[in-house]
């Protein structure tokens, strides 16, 4: 197997108690305590007002983390292919569609319908950033972060291009919340590059692993990791936050995990 590897040039994070990557890095490196706080989604930046009115939480979440990652690396997103990974998409929108279809009238809002596609955040990302490169939107249930990372690393390796990975999840309202209890919104973006650069923070190298996935030492963070599929990235983010990162094993499918060698660039 060809070595699947990439340099991380930018990171974006938004989640409970994690307002952005610098704040998350302080917590994850042990420099500050994690304090529980509901995820605050900012208004959707860069979108024309017509689109802005139509956007739900998944669009606000993905725009926030995606833009944080590319801006921190001073990279123009307009030509960067993107990979969006989510275990469930827009749960609120899905709930409202199912409620309408269970009612007598069944009159769906056209906007609700076009927002129901799994790749809606990718569509809005293109409109917001003018990015005409390929965008992929995928799902692998609880393995969605790992699946997105694999897709992004394959694109980096084969197309020899930067790739922006955005993994995100939001919570469902009831009654879906009971069967899929995702507690809050969490998003992470990694700008990956095929070669070293001044912007590179760390280098990742991929391998399969049968070891158990690394857990977070803090029980509250471990709860986030296990309850939100996109937060399966937390052990990797914790390594990136350290001065001297090492290897990490992250969750993927049953019986298959992803081992990442992480090396700092500075």
């Amino acid at each position: 197997m060809r070595a699947l590897s990439a340099w991380i040039e930018g990171v974006g994070v938004l989640g409970p108690g994690f307002p952005d990557w610098p704040a998350a890095a302080r917590v994850l490196s042990g420099g500050a305590p994690w304090e529980a706080a509901a995820t605050v989604l900012p208004p959707p930046a860069c979108l024309p007002s017509a689109e802005r009115r139509r956007t739900g939480p998944v669009v606000r979440l993905t725009l926030a983390v995606g833009l944080e990652a590319v801006r921190s690396a001073a990279v123009d997103p307009a030509k960067v292919p993107a990979v969006f990974a989510s275990s469930g998409g827009d749960g609120q929108n899905c709930h409202e569609i199912c409620e309408t279809l269970a009612s007598a009238a069944r009159e769906l809002s056209p906007t609700r319908f076009h927002n129901s596609v799994h790749n809606a955040p990718a569509g809005y990302w293109g409109i917001a950033t003018g990015c005409t490169a390929a965008a992929n939107s995928l799902c692998a249930y609880d393995a969605s972060f790992g699946a997105g990372l694999i897709e992004a690393l394959c694109q980096v390796a084969i197309e020899r291009t930067r790739v922006l990975l955005i993994a995100y999840d939001t919570s469902y309202p009831q009654p879906m919340h009971t069967v899929r209890p995702i507690p809050d919104a969490f998003g992470v973006a990694l700008l990956l590059a095929p070669m070293a650069s001044d912007a590179a923070l760390a280098r990742l190298e991929f391998a399969w692993s049968e070891a158990a996935a690394d857990r977070m030492a803090d029980p509250a963070l471990e709860h986030l990791r296990s309850a939100i599929p996109a937060a399966r990235s937390l052990p990797l983010l914790a390594q990136l936050a350290r001065a001297r990162p090492t290897g990490v094993v992250i969750d993927y499918l049953d019986g298959k995990r992803i081992a990442l060698e992480v090396a700092a660039c500075h």
Binding site: C94, H118, G126, T132, N136, S144, A147, C154, I158, V179
Partner: protein, 397 residues
Amino acid sequence: MNPLALTSFTATSAIGCGLEATRASLRAQRSGLAPCRFETVSLDTCVGEVPGVDRSGLPREFAEFECRNNRLAWLALAQDGFTAQVAASAARYGASRVGVFLGTSTSGILETELAYRRRDPQTGALPEGFSYHGAHNTFSLAAFVQRALRLAGPAVVISCACSSSAKVFASAARAIEAGLIDAAVVGGVDSLCLTTLYGFHALQLVSRTPCRPFDAARDGISIGEAAAFALLERAEGTTNAGSVRLVGTGESSDAYHMSAPPPDGRGARAAMLQALAAARLEPPDIGYINFHGTGTPSNDAAEGAAVASVLGAEVPGSSTKGATGHTLGAAGALEAVICALALEGEFMPAGVNTKQVDPALPVTYLRENRRARLTRVMSNSFGFGGSNCCLILARAG
């Protein structure tokens, strides 16, 4: 890109269950579209329904995956010896070296729609036995197919609306090229549900009559359902590799609008040019194009402009959606299989239902089947969110 062999493939749609029936319908220029009698739907439209999907359930060991979408997948996997071919590949490479890359837009949402009608009147709770992971979740399809085929490699669902199961070919090709896997089951499955029937109706994109792609009087889509699969392996050194190859893929984004293409089709054009470059081909090398051709006025106009700007107005083409309906997340894989049948069977399938080709569209649209020893064909798939994908298939030798 390095060519990949389609060592086995199969399709099940409104025009037939398996390749033999599909081929016969294409040869006879038969449409599978009929007035909608699906579930409790009261819309004046036609659909491409696959008969008998719900006739039998899944085997008991797969009970957690029970839903119409997975039943359609199961029906399709049983055709054309596909499962046995996958088993042979898994034996050759190891089950963990065979990936699963599938497209769907709505997965098992029909189960959720029905469950919402049976919520507890007091608590609002969903009924007992509702399976989020096995039926509702977008990944349900790949989880089920991976289990049914006894594979243990990477598995993913790509859900980019109506380009989903074209894009799986590109992702699988990269994973094989990167050495992550040695073979991949690619495909797409989408099944009738209320979300898409009422949703496209709300957008006023649905025709009352069987859809007429590229017709001067075209007035919308007909929704269909389908399951189509292919087994991809490296073409070099593969024994018994069959005669069809995947030689080029191209992917782009419109960055324009959530549910409409730019009128000049520039995103579609970019995907086609990329596919040609990946295949190291020139426009005259393409002998037939299977249009995305949904049958809405603006989609076909944008695609016609894009195709003419890349391939010229002379290359013969058709949309097979007049026969199958628009099978949404399954369309890319279904139409790739139809292209494979065209290459093997030495014919170009006509676009049925279309009576008078729109003179404003700069394309050579086939209203009758044509015999031709094709060597390279192109298939377009475009989706909501401005997601574009183009595949080029070729005949070996």
